[in-house]
Symmetry: C2
Subunit: 748 residues, 2 copies
Amino acid sequence: MKTCVRRLLALAAVFQLVLTPFAAQSNVAMLGFSPDASARQRSLEARFDSALTATNLREWMKRLSARPHHLGSPYNKENADFIAAQFKSWGYDTKLERFDVLFPTPKSRLVEMTAPERFTLKLNEPAVDGDATSGQQSEQLPSYNAYSVDGDVTGPLVYVNYGIPADYEELEKRGIDVKGKIVIARYGGSWRGIKPKVAAEHGAIGCIIYSDPRNDGYYQGDVYPKGSYRNENGVQRGSVMDMPLYPGDPLTKGVGAVPDARRIPIKDAPTLTKIPVLPISYGDALPLLRNLNGAVVPESWRGALPITYHFGGNTPTVRIKLEFNWDIKPIYNVIATLSGAERPDQWIIRGNHRDAWVNGAEDPISGLVALMEEARSIGELAKSGWRPKRTIIYAAWDGEEEGLLGSTEWAEQHAAELADKAVAYINTDSNGRGFLGIGGSHTLEKFINQVGRDVPDPQTKLSVWERARANQIVNGSATARNEAMNRGDLRIFPLGSGSDYTPFLQHLGIASLNIGFGGESGGGSYHSVYDSFDHYTRFGDTDFAYGIALAKVCGRATLRLADSDTVPFEFSNFAETVGQYASEVTRLIDSLRDETKASNYAITNNLWTAVQNPKDKLVTPKAKDAVPFVNFAPLQNALLKLQTSAANYKQASAGQPPVAARQAELDQILFKTERSLTRADGLPRRDWFRHQIYAPGFYTGYGVKTLPGMREAIEQRNWKEAEEQIGIAAATIERFAAEIDRASKLYP
Amino acid sequence: MKTCVRRLLALAAVFQLVLTPFAAQSNVAMLGFSPDASARQRSLEARFDSALTATNLREWMKRLSARPHHLGSPYNKENADFIAAQFKSWGYDTKLERFDVLFPTPKSRLVEMTAPERFTLKLNEPAVDGDATSGQQSEQLPSYNAYSVDGDVTGPLVYVNYGIPADYEELEKRGIDVKGKIVIARYGGSWRGIKPKVAAEHGAIGCIIYSDPRNDGYYQGDVYPKGSYRNENGVQRGSVMDMPLYPGDPLTKGVGAVPDARRIPIKDAPTLTKIPVLPISYGDALPLLRNLNGAVVPESWRGALPITYHFGGNTPTVRIKLEFNWDIKPIYNVIATLSGAERPDQWIIRGNHRDAWVNGAEDPISGLVALMEEARSIGELAKSGWRPKRTIIYAAWDGEEEGLLGSTEWAEQHAAELADKAVAYINTDSNGRGFLGIGGSHTLEKFINQVGRDVPDPQTKLSVWERARANQIVNGSATARNEAMNRGDLRIFPLGSGSDYTPFLQHLGIASLNIGFGGESGGGSYHSVYDSFDHYTRFGDTDFAYGIALAKVCGRATLRLADSDTVPFEFSNFAETVGQYASEVTRLIDSLRDETKASNYAITNNLWTAVQNPKDKLVTPKAKDAVPFVNFAPLQNALLKLQTSAANYKQASAGQPPVAARQAELDQILFKTERSLTRADGLPRRDWFRHQIYAPGFYTGYGVKTLPGMREAIEQRNWKEAEEQIGIAAATIERFAAEIDRASKLYP
């Protein structure tokens, strides 16, 4: 008896260690499901879970990353065939869909310092001990930036920090001009393609991008192979195509790059860079940076090399000589379909790319193997007699690294059908250990929060949702902490670009999600030869436990989207979120007004001259136009309407189910609400991007701009366009609200 | 005619370049002067200015920094005699005042890494090319921290970042204990003496402090001799005496260290460190830091060495062996007096220290030579027949570097007389090029703002005040910018410690100012052998133009304080400022309450366990007491009273001058208002510090704490003491307000 009491107390102490031991929320009805259907679905999910096996992920990763498998390489095609065969064996109707895309590869690469002394850069990533694939030089793509133009340029070098517009404002203040010069920018601060784009806009003739150790080298952690981080030889490859204009094949904007597609001449392709650009390692960068002359850069520009960072401008002189093979190459998307039993014309699309820069164990294989295991387990369910209500399509995209080529060409090729049928697109890419992170359409926010609450975390006894929330409370900012403690749902982040959701979400207006785990993996192998199976299994999700967790989250999301009675869209969270974005934009113009006022005061009163150190050669900036007040009323009225419509739908959908005969019609209205957030004319100066709520920034690249039309007009001080775009956004939101109202009417 | 118009237009264009070309504000009456007296004073100041000569500063600096002149050294005494002779020749009644103080110097110094391999640190600053004095090794004090105890300790090394209390909280979270270990801290983040103090509180047995290149090495700029910044061999000497307890001779707290003063035994001196501590260069630190094992430190802990920074804790093992000569040495203050003609018992004291760690061209000679030139010019005025109304005392303090020894012993020795007679103390120390910076008593804020408006900047056509304001607008935070644009006076900062004002302001309650220029000089020579004439004349105030500007500001301040009809104290700015401090403290406790609530939520709900990476060994911190609401009403009522009294005085003093017969009485009341801000019992646990508005932080060292009693009680979560200290502060402010009321009544 005594020992029993003791034991119970000990158990109680153990239970105290966790707030809410994980248990599927079996008593909570799922969005779009009746309580009974919810229970049935949860039992289906339990069967789905039980088939998931981590060793599959490990074996597939080992196989798929065994050799370099970039676009057009022999092993890329082998992988496509292997993946397709797997899907077939799991019962999917599987095919390879081919497109022919422009894909430049290096013919010759040379960077040398020509003065004060001659020095030629190595441009080489050597094999390292304990990494079995790092020495496969004959098959590796050399380090380069895809879609750089050819060139042979020589000029003095200027350090431009991240090479974003604000950095050029700083240079201008210092009287430093990059015209006719070569710039060297560090990775970080923006998507890489912005760096040569902005450099060319300012008259530079060449661009070098290097990986500063501050970004992902020894400043962050021990370097490979001792630790995971980038060593002095590691180079980040990557595309520099002007994706904020449009992604996909540069020659076939807006249409699938099928053999007979109309192609523009290469010389006219607007998404190629204007100047030659090449990425280098910090080992190669150090001699260049050490020789820069001129003033010392401001603190926010300094990296972690053991030198004083200078602007340069005269010394050293550098030559870049680049020549590419401008080939048209085939790409192969693996498309695997499991037809829906009840509503086959409603498609749930689930994708991850399969091509890599080199061996790509982490990027993209870590995400791809989770997708495959998820598809295999769903295949098992199907073999046992279950069928989804709606059609499920699995995609393993090719050519993502070069500019979302596979997904974009496919989405453009099937645009009409997708516009009609696509319910949602769920994307994954690289995956790691740690915390659930979700971006996407806020009409799916409540839905994906429910999913996260039902998936156990591999390392704790919590759900992955609870662990993410705990992280926000323990490690988040005061705002994030308060929100996590007080908002029912975790906030999902808006999507910019950088993976295959872009053509679905931002071109076609298909509600999308992008899902992954991270925060506890060691980084530093990104787009280098060291992104290998050996690296991933030492520093990534070593036991593939989070690969399985990812399969559970995305598999559940796919199954629920496919099986729900009514597609699980919800609009209150969306209304609240767009309201926040609108507040941000109004605060943005207000703070811009204050800053402009103070800055103009300083300029017109010659305070710049007053504070100048005579040793410096500061240039007083030009005074800017005063920031006017613009009319936000149309937007605010539209938001009011949206809130009302969302609340009405919530009330309507909480009661009796919709009239059965109109179920399919209701689904159509609901999943097409996202289409109403697009506009055929697209965004100003980039009509391919049609979504009016989310877009990659014109000057940030991957970084998102919400309410992009009005926000970027304000950022770029185009007040007339800002007013126009406010009107367009308001009309968009009103159209969206009207669709919600239509849906509400289909409930009894 | 045509050319004339053109010329006028050209002139107009030139004038547009500056907002307000400098002109002494001849039509503005000075605080404490009638309009007529103001005009006379300005003409006196013009004569004062005209005698100032930059070549004197240069010659004196060259002479005074020609050899090492630390406390007790032969050249220190030579300098004292030289300075005294100069003052005598300028007509001052001059003497050397001697005190005998405890001054430890190194007998032996050894730091070695004993495992994983044996390595002995160099502990040596070699001579560099182009620096004539850097090789004077026989006279140089070796690099060390004064008032470290002797010791011979060996233990594993732990990196503790800045070594402040927050850093030990981080270590505790990581499960890293420093008990029985040696810590290595980087300079910065606090005054150096805090580092061994907090290390010892946590059980460490030894402490190494090193200069990370991020702080003042190549991260900031090119290193010496190419640039001004600290090279790999540069070491920052400095005192580690527990000055926040009390400064001055450790053996004679509160009394002058005259020959027959009562001295406590060395072993009982509470301001010596508890553990041995030594400063080293980053060249010496690198092998130690490179060998640290354990987890990677958080981003805010990382320096600029080309390594991954780890916590350590097991490897490497380090030995520190230190032995000192514990001598009593004489120090010599130069005290030079010019007696007042009308009110000789009202003293204006003006000081700068004269001792250095080594050659000390910048610290302190750059400030001292400005003081000397200022005194010389005032001496010239006196020789021409002018006499100040009040007595002016110039002081060149000895032993400042070791712990404000000269100024503190003098202030303690003359405490009674100073309490009765001292109107104000004006301090300077190192000086550089750039922007006027002022700290001090806010009862003198309006006065010193007026002074700044009347001194021309050497580089622009503005006053030094306007240039400082321009800098705040162009380079300041949004708050600083708004304030500079909208507040009439520039805000002076409150004084913590770090120079000789401390005994005057915080022990005796004498209104004080600390004045200097900076922002355009290259740093990095601080307390090293490289703080030399060659360094200063290349990277500091190369032509001594700002030395002259400093003489103009401080000379004017001294002359106006000495000559004004009524001492120029003003109370509205003080009232507003103390109101701000009170708001800060109330916000502090509110934010502490919110943070504690969220943190306790995370702790009691085991969120720490939830977010833990199993690879780490995070320790959940203990929940803290909830933060109560405390009663600020007494303080708020006292502030109301203060505002009223200040406004009444403003009104009273704006009218007719005070009754002539009571002028001296009015002066006494006014300059003694600062005394009423002190309290005989001092601050909790450190009774030497008597000022209730300004104090150096108990855990920040030089860093100021305003309203220190209540603020530190809250920071240290002592709620009972916080309530008591609010009461004490309220009573202090009420006493102060009552003194203002007494002064107001002396106006007709």
